[in-house]
């Protein structure tokens, strides 16, 4: 559990953050 929160939890967190950033960039670029 500690391992998940320390590392894989952050991997997923940054993956989702990056998805949202890129999503908004592409959506804006496509207008």
């Amino acid at each position: 559990m500690k391992y998940f929160l320390d590392s894989l939890g952050w991997t997923v967190f940054w993956g989702v953050v990056l998805t949202l950033i890129l999503y908004n960039i592409v959506r804006y670029a496509m207008q």
Binding site: L8, V16, V26, R27
Partner: protein, 167 residues
């Protein structure tokens, strides 16, 4: 008929090999790495290193190649429209294709050569092994993170769904 082979069969094989690739990537990150950490404490890690990891890495790295090639085949003549962001309709898959390309680079340039040192397939000093372990695990973790936006843009890149999501 050519459309059937390129878009139908090509996309199908792209997804099958992609499941193999990303499935094994998640296996490494969510199963094998935590398991190795515990197994090395009670002396049972050797079995994983000897019998499991080399096989998993074999399917992992070749599935990555197959996935990229079938992806390129599906893009076909739109390959540069996607990679060079020449047409808005290809922006979402362009982002997905770039993320996938970064990931296959990580597999072949960072993960595989370093795993060969870690698993003893290539001679390396303890110091080199320690460095290899850091680079390989960082690249593997990065790929797990990149797979999240990559899959978003791949699944958001088609037809009605793309129009609904990206306008």
């Amino acid at each position: 008929m050519m459309d059937f082979i390129q878009l139908g069969i090509g996309r199908w094989l792209h997804v099958i090999s992609g499941v193999m690739w990303i499935g094994l990537l998640y296996y490494f990150n969510f199963v094998q790495v935590p398991a190795m950490a515990e197994a090395s404490k009670d002396g049972t890690a050797a079995g994983i290193s000897k019998h499991v990891a080399p096989r998993a890495l074999f399917w992992f790295r070749w599935a990555a190649v197959a996935t990229w090639l079938f992806g390129a085949m599906v893009l076909g003549k739109a390959f540069f429209d996607a990679f060079l962001f020449l047409k808005p309709a290809y922006y979402p898959i362009g982002v997905g294709a770039w993320l996938g390309t970064i990931m296959i680079f990580n597999v072949w340039v960072l993960i595989w050569p370093n795993q060969q040192k870690i698993l003893g397939m290539v001679q390396a000093t303890d110091e080199e092994k320690a460095k290899a372990r850091r680079v390989a695990s960082l690249a593997s973790r990065t790929n797990t993170m990149l797979s999240i936006p990559m899959l978003f843009f791949m699944t958001a890149s088609g037809g009605v769904f793309r129009t609904a999501v990206f306008g």
